[in-house]
Symmetry: C2
Subunit: 480 residues, 2 copies
Amino acid sequence: MAQENKKQVEQITDMEVDFAQWYTDVCKKAELIDYSSVKGLFILRPYGYAIWENVQKELDSKFKATGHENVYLPLLIPESLLEKEKNHVEGFAPECAWVTFGGSEPLEERLCIRPTSETLFCEHYANIIHSWRDLPKLYNQWCSVLRWEKTSRPFLRHREFLWQEGHTMHATAEEAIEETERMLEIYADFCENTLAMPVVKGKKTDKEKFSGAEATYTVECMMHDKKALQGGTSHYFGDGFARAFDITFTGKDNRQQYPHQTSWGVSTRLIGGIIMTHGDNNGLILPPRIAPIQIMVIPVAQHKPGVLDAAAAVVSRLSAAGFRVKSDTSDQSPGWKFAEYEMKGVPLRLELGPKDIENHQCVLVRRDNGEKVFASLDQLEETVSKLLDSAHHALYSKAKRTLEDNTYPCSTLEEVRETMSARGGFAKAMWCGDLACEQRMKDEAGVSSRCIPFAQENLGDTCAICGKPAHHMVYWGVAY
Amino acid sequence: MAQENKKQVEQITDMEVDFAQWYTDVCKKAELIDYSSVKGLFILRPYGYAIWENVQKELDSKFKATGHENVYLPLLIPESLLEKEKNHVEGFAPECAWVTFGGSEPLEERLCIRPTSETLFCEHYANIIHSWRDLPKLYNQWCSVLRWEKTSRPFLRHREFLWQEGHTMHATAEEAIEETERMLEIYADFCENTLAMPVVKGKKTDKEKFSGAEATYTVECMMHDKKALQGGTSHYFGDGFARAFDITFTGKDNRQQYPHQTSWGVSTRLIGGIIMTHGDNNGLILPPRIAPIQIMVIPVAQHKPGVLDAAAAVVSRLSAAGFRVKSDTSDQSPGWKFAEYEMKGVPLRLELGPKDIENHQCVLVRRDNGEKVFASLDQLEETVSKLLDSAHHALYSKAKRTLEDNTYPCSTLEEVRETMSARGGFAKAMWCGDLACEQRMKDEAGVSSRCIPFAQENLGDTCAICGKPAHHMVYWGVAY
């Protein structure tokens, strides 16, 4: 990096010095986010929101391809409706923001801003589900939700955040469970193949599952600082909500019965995950498949004749080939621009100056590893496509190595405690299934159960905490 | 329509009998909307939401093509922030829903759910605009807003509704005014060429303009019942908000100055407009360019060998050609299906039975005029494309005729009163520009000013109300 441009980047704290500060610096400096005057309510700036738009576009097409339809349900939930399912209300009521006035009039019943919409979907489903012909209902909603939490951090913990929430109803438990698994697979595939974030797929323990769910499935990712981030969750509710909301249907056998329910969601937290999985001390590194700008074209000596025209021609060629490409023709120096888009994590920089034009070539520089190639303009589309693909795979492999290198099989609580406090990361350890042991792991080793992975390994026959017979191998860690 | 299927449609009240009931019946029966347990909060069902998704897709690409970027700002506005611009708060505070509790704690300052976001954008702009290099800022936001109104009606008046709100900042008044006009043109073009809704473009009077704006521009449409519906509005704010929020920038001349601002929006009201512009007594009629399903394929005698395969083949051909196409292979009768998709306003029905397959043809029936053609499967894509285009133009022409046939030049207040009470529609009449006259028109003729159209005509030299010199020709009418 040119000396004169060090200043831009100096404002980003090194992650080894202070990881939390590095993270906040990147969010602010890369113009992903801004603060509002209300604590916990953030502004998604164009560059940050564009990442979310790409998340939406990609996931929405996967949802539609699997038969889901989008709907929009109200922002506000009457208190009495929220209270219909006991476990659910206990989980969410303490975090609700309450509307008590409409204009100058106090409301007869206070309304909470949705923290999640199970209760609203159930009220609607009770109206529209009557017969087996009405099933399955495969609905999804893109919206914002609000949870009045004490602490806040960009993307990771907003009082208001954007997400999608799928809510489905099925004739049988089997179908509903299948749906829960299908959606978890979609999340896992999306994390790995679009965001280049390797995941551990598994089931949450009862302690960690969603309020009101029978089972919660999760994809867990590991960040640079070795902490866990839950990438997405998928819940199976059985017929608990259906009973509480009196949703019944007449089966093919003419019998009245309760449908079985799921919900599943991912949120803007994923953007926090991208930053903390791939970023470095020069700023953001965006995986090419989600980057709002995949290629930034930077003209060199742009005052010389032909340079801006050649840059514009390259932009329209790459854009026509389906790439997300821009050029910066402002009067800042090329060095300033190099540093700027490095900091903003654009996967590929394309430099084009008079000499390059003469030689019918350009310079391509990968953000993830700094690799620099001189490329002929003849096969430009092909070269760019290969470099972006290589960048995706390199980012994935690097993150996968981080995950594997920092996952430690442990056979006792003591070993978990020592390993975690010395190195962080995930501990794999056997567990008897008792809440008491899970609680001891939390209290004594400082880690929570991340999931019971689908890919079980037998690390021993006894629980690492109490020594009784083990039933599950569990991933443990410190989570965001 | 087959006799046996009359029942489906009998549940829709004739519009000549009760227009309001016809409208509500269509919204419910076509499954566009459902009610929630809170008055004024509606549920957009998949078919209704899919129309909104098409509105979003189309407009969003027009916004991006004109340099706008999407952002997301918070849902909640502190009371003190809302109060910063005097006229604005007076317009909106009476309709705000107020959050007073976060969890179990009362808030120090109450927060309103955004009724519109000018104040939030201004707070953000004050943070990020410093130099002429930071301008223009061309931002847009897709979100829901809340206005606690007394009455409610599907799509036309929701307490919570979905919309987009553009908010832009410019270095000069000229640039800002140009932007206001550019966005109004985009709305007019969208209404006419996508929704087949002819518009009258013009400026609002001071009485009817947006709270806090210097000028409001509008596109006004006429519904079946001759009432006006505001399709979209675009506001020029001058530097009023900038002064109130202390947003300044250093110009190229090194002078500190205030930027000039616009905002513009359309909402789910447009869906109400589509229904009331095109629908008939058999239900919805959707313009092809916005219809979620453009072609519904209905197999006839589907139990016979080859029919379902042929239907599936047609669906994949049309889908590959870029049409939005579905087939209904449920066990309902073809007659039931014909009536169902007629009611749901699908622009084109494609019938395909054993005899058609034998003759290598299908039957195509237009929803808008009932025209039925036998089409060879060879040129199917071309035929479908032509029919959909014809349907669009026919719908537009019909609506244009309605608008023209029901717009009456009037030279006195008395003539406006008589014409409006006898026939409804729009009155065109000259106006001196005084609020008092506008108010008299409202009180005595029961109509409000819809707009001062850009296309001015000179209908006389004196104000139709007071007889003093006239300055404008105004459209008057009853509005939704």
